[in-house]
Symmetry: C2
Subunit: 319 residues, 2 copies
């Protein structure tokens, strides 16, 4: 066969990462362009297509690429469009026909598109921790909380293409925190990098507990992680709380699709040492007896610098 390679593109709010990937998940060549300097989609697509052609050349892959996979916020697999993505300057209002535009700019090369968390799920299934699994739930713990649900080996897109918004299920029903989505109490408002920083700021204000975090002007989740590593008690409690919030939500997700595993990925998942125990404890405490102790929590095995490209690229194998 002469078409044994794919291209993966991860469209982020600030930058877009792209690369040429082989069937084993090796990134042969990659590059990055800006996403946020374009207010219109056309010039962005033009530069993206140029960059794709460049990495294809660099990987010596001309004529060998069978398709392009794209992971993008609010990406719709059915239509290949990006719809009202708040963090994309050229995509925050209305519907952008992303897959069509990119395919045209790439002389008809087929393009598949989905949201970043679904792409991560396909990536993990193709190259990573979920290889061989037919039923799992991918949870991405980044700035927000994303999810990609796999049932019988296939990503769930639902009736409209937008299934898998588990970051916006209710973690707290009463007096929950305001979420960016407009609702309150969403899992994302507690269990994301943003949520961890919010918990820290809230608890510093509401308690007198001593903590190295009190010395900082502003707090990011990374600061809480660093403090926890030094044994700071408040920071450790914050991760314990975060893990428990996640674990009890996982129990509800498991009642839905009875997966073999929950697979975690993203910046916050690096705090595995502090999150795993409270997560497993709360999950098992809230599971029906039939699932107690039977559902694994596993962490992504993809190299973090490559993961976004790999996830997106994996989509293209299905084209």
């Amino acid at each position: 066969m002469d078409s044994q390679l794919v291209v993966g593109i991860d469209v982020g709010g600030q930058t877009s990462k792209l690369g040429v990937v082989d069937a084993r998940g090796t990134v042969l060549a990659q590059t990055v362009i800006r996403t946020d300097t374009y207010s219109e989609v056309e010039p962005y697509i033009a530069e993206l297509a140029e960059a794709v052609k460049k990495v294809i050349k660099e990987a010596d892959a001309e004529g060998k690429v069978r398709g392009i996979g794209v992971g993008a916020p609010n990406g719709n697999y059915y239509t290949g469009t990006i719809e009202n993505a708040p963090n994309l300057p050229w995509g925050h209002s209305g519907v952008v026909e992303f897959a069509k535009l990119l395919s045209e700019a790439m002389d008809g090369l087929p393009v598949a598109l989905t949201n970043d968390a679904n792409a991560a799920a396909v990536g993990e299934m193709t190259y990573g921790a979920a290889r061989g699994m037919k039923n799992f739930i991918m949870i991405t713990l980044g700035t927000g909380v994303g999810s990609g649900i796999v049932i019988n080996g296939e990503v769930v897109y639902g009736h409209d293409g937008f299934a898998g918004e588990l970051g916006h299920t209710a973690a707290v029903r009463n007096n929950g925190r305001q979420c960016n989505c407009g609702k309150t109490g969403c899992l994302e408002a507690y269990a994301s990098a943003m949520g961890v920083a919010r918990t820290a700021r809230e608890w510093l204000e509401l308690t007198d507990e001593p903590s190295v975090l009190r010395n900082l002007d502003s707090i990011a989740s990374k600061d809480v992680y660093d403090a926890a590593k030094e044994g700071d008690k408040l920071a450790l409690k914050i991760f314990d709380f975060t893990g428990k919030i996640l674990g009890r939500s996982f129990a509800d997700f498991i009642a839905f699709s009875a997966p073999e595993a929950i697979v975690l990925f993203g910046g916050l998942a690096r705090a595995k040492e502090f999150l795993l125990a409270p997560m497993e404890e709360a999950m098992n405490a809230n599971l029906l007896p039939l699932w107690k102790g039977k559902v694994k929590i596993v962490f992504s095995q993809l190299k973090e610098s490559d993961a976004a490209i790999l996830g997106a690229s994996a989509l293209a194998w299905e084209l």
Copy 2:
């Protein structure tokens, strides 16, 4: 074709209903046997097989039956077994190889088995309100709350065959009611027939509000329904509360699989006139903007006396 009919069997805690069904969903002949008078499965299966042969004869369907579908509590589609079903005297501990035993007793006729809520989902998709739908969630509001999830036209069974236990997701996270499953705060503890009666008893004790329900010695959900029909304010508030609890849980279910509709069935669903408005309101209030106003709540269209048999029988078309 000479095999244009199927048999449906609904195994309930007290009785088992069975019937011969054609492709249009007409029940050609049916009967009922006891479930609860057998402490061992073998004599129960023997009587069941006799009854099946009798209805086949009655429907003039000898040689025309292509298979048997069974809906049973804790039924596992993958294995054809009933596992630890608390309400079945011959099945409450251990694993009963139901499909295998019945098939043997029926001279090798193929038997498919799943839990009652999944059977209801297949029935609704084959003959009822979900005809033509590829993505919906069936919620059965009976003594408990069951669910059957359909994605891309297929029931979700999950890794182990037990997916779709939405009655045991968290409706209330703190100080929730004790559920029969051993957990607290489950949707089933609030939004089932049992839950409605519990709400009534709780509110009668905690408030002074006048209500015709105060005159009763014991309260079942039917009493609350009758009182609501008479305009009893407390009874109306109970249904309003129940509808809201359901609606906000539906919002979380929708975030999972983005269905076209939630389909409701069961005794409590008869209170549609009191449940629908608060249900829709709470559901839409808790949905992400992209789904607000877009997901239907529909009620079963199957004749209630036939529904259990129809649901189970529909499974057999897939054999």
